[in-house]
């Protein structure tokens, strides 16, 4: 016979464990790794329309490609140009380095939670669908590094990555570089990741003293 006291006890214990685990994950995430024996880390790159993809490619061009491999690019399903730009970037890389990566680069599309102008009622359904799709992709990829710089598509991905960390499914290092267009304050994506402490490191390109935990790194472009 399961009585009320036992059930409440179990709930309290599990909740406490979860809270402790979440606090542990957050504190560990902000610390640099001592040194990694791994030669390369699987990397998920979140692309976005407008300047996001251009800024992301600009960042990727100075990262050591052999260490951030294999690479998985994700863009919203309705974004036609971003994956194409990423392909062009990757093709140019293959010309320079004749080494084959551990696995081929992959390009994927993800469903958007909500299109511009979509009614909020139907948005509930599409957001759930998008979350399910994000979960499916994240289970397949389980990246060790996530690079994102603002598009809304990065939120479900980062949220799922954070949950994976808490549950011990996969420890991913989440790096968020706020767009150069955000001069005075963070975007909604940036603000969410900042407040919820979901990113290991959050970088801003303009001095924004109101976010003490954001690292100012100057302009990338």
């Amino acid at each position: 016979m399961v009585d009320f006291v036992s059930v409440s006890l179990v709930v309290v214990v599990i909740s406490t464990l979860l809270v402790v685990r979440v606090l542990y994950v957050i504190s560990q995430s902000s610390k640099p790794a001592r040194n990694t024996s791994q030669k390369n880390l699987s990397t998920l790159v979140v692309l976005g329309s407008g300047g996001h993809t251009a800024e992301m490619i600009n960042l990727l061009s100075v990262l050591p490609k052999d260490r951030f491999a294999p690479r998985f690019y994700i863009a919203a399903a309705t974004d036609n140009m971003s994956l194409q730009k990423a392909r062009v970037f990757e093709d140019a890389l293959d010309d320079k380095t004749s080494l084959q990566g551990p696995e081929p680069t992959q390009f994927m599309q993800i469903y958007r939670s909500r299109e511009v102008g979509q009614s909020y009622i139907t948005s509930v359904g599409t957001t759930l669908f998008a979350l399910g799709h994000a979960l499916w992709l994240m289970v397949k990829i389980r990246p060790q590094v996530i690079l994102c710089n603002g598009p809304g598509t990065c939120i479900p991905i980062c949220a799922i990555a954070f949950i994976f960390k808490i549950l011990g499914i996969r420890w991913s290092n989440i790096f968020y570089v706020e767009s150069i267009a955000r001069v005075k304050r963070l975007s909604l994506s940036g603000l969410l990741l900042y407040k919820l402490r979901m990113a290991d490191q959050l970088f801003v390109q303009w001095p924004q003293k109101q976010y003490p935990r954001a690292r100012y790194v100057g302009r990338l472009m």
């Binding site: 790794a33 290092n173 790194v217």
Partner: protein, 178 residues
């Protein structure tokens, strides 16, 4: 005499770009007689408009009557060549267009689209204008800005550098520093 004139044709092109957006108010303003007159007065000879997803179609002109030569297109896989051959660039406030132009040190007027709901783009344009890297305008003020254009006060933009953040990322992951 005509042949010599044609060979040594002095071409100063104004390139207008709206990126992947629809920015009819800018295209319409640029296509207006006032703006075209103002550009001619400033010594520009050609006007090329990249109109993106807009629905307003500018009027082409061969410039035979001494007016501005006007041409337009919707999209191009790369506007690098157009930027390179321009003497003045008038662009929407997208960061990609802005920095692509600043990187090759072309004079730039950024026009902010006030019809956009979330206008975070204006922050960037205003900040760069304050630092005198470019001129900032709205479609209504574009003509005035062109008339009072003074390119001597423009401060060249020092290109940014992604290496500092790359170093921090590498360090956080415990990768050995190069």
């Amino acid at each position: 005499m005509d042949d010599i004139n044609n060979h040594f044709e002095f071409k100063r092109t104004v390139f207008v770009t709206v990126g992947t957006t629809s920015f009819d108010s800018l295209v319409r303003t640029v296509d207006s007689d006032q703006v075209k007159e103002a550009l001619l007065e400033k010594g520009y000879t050609h006007l090329v408009i990249q109109m993106g997803r807009g629905s307003y179609i500018p009027k082409k002109s061969s410039g035979e009557d001494g007016s501005l030569v006007v041409d337009y297109f919707t999209f191009s896989s790369s506007i690098a060549d157009y930027l390179r051959s321009a003497s003045l660039v008038i662009s929407h406030a997208g960061s990609g267009s802005i920095f692509e132009t600043l990187r090759i040190a072309k004079p730039l007027i950024v026009v902010v689209n006030e019809d956009l709901m979330d206008n975070h783009q204006s922050e960037l344009a205003e900040e760069l204008a304050e630092r005198k890297h470019l001129y900032c305008a709205r479609p209504q003020t574009l003509c005035e800005v062109i008339k009072s254009l003074n390119l001597d006060i423009i401060v060249p933009y020092e290109p940014g550098d992604a290496n500092p953040v790359a170093k921090l990322i590498n360090k956080h992951l415990g990768f050995p520093a190069d």
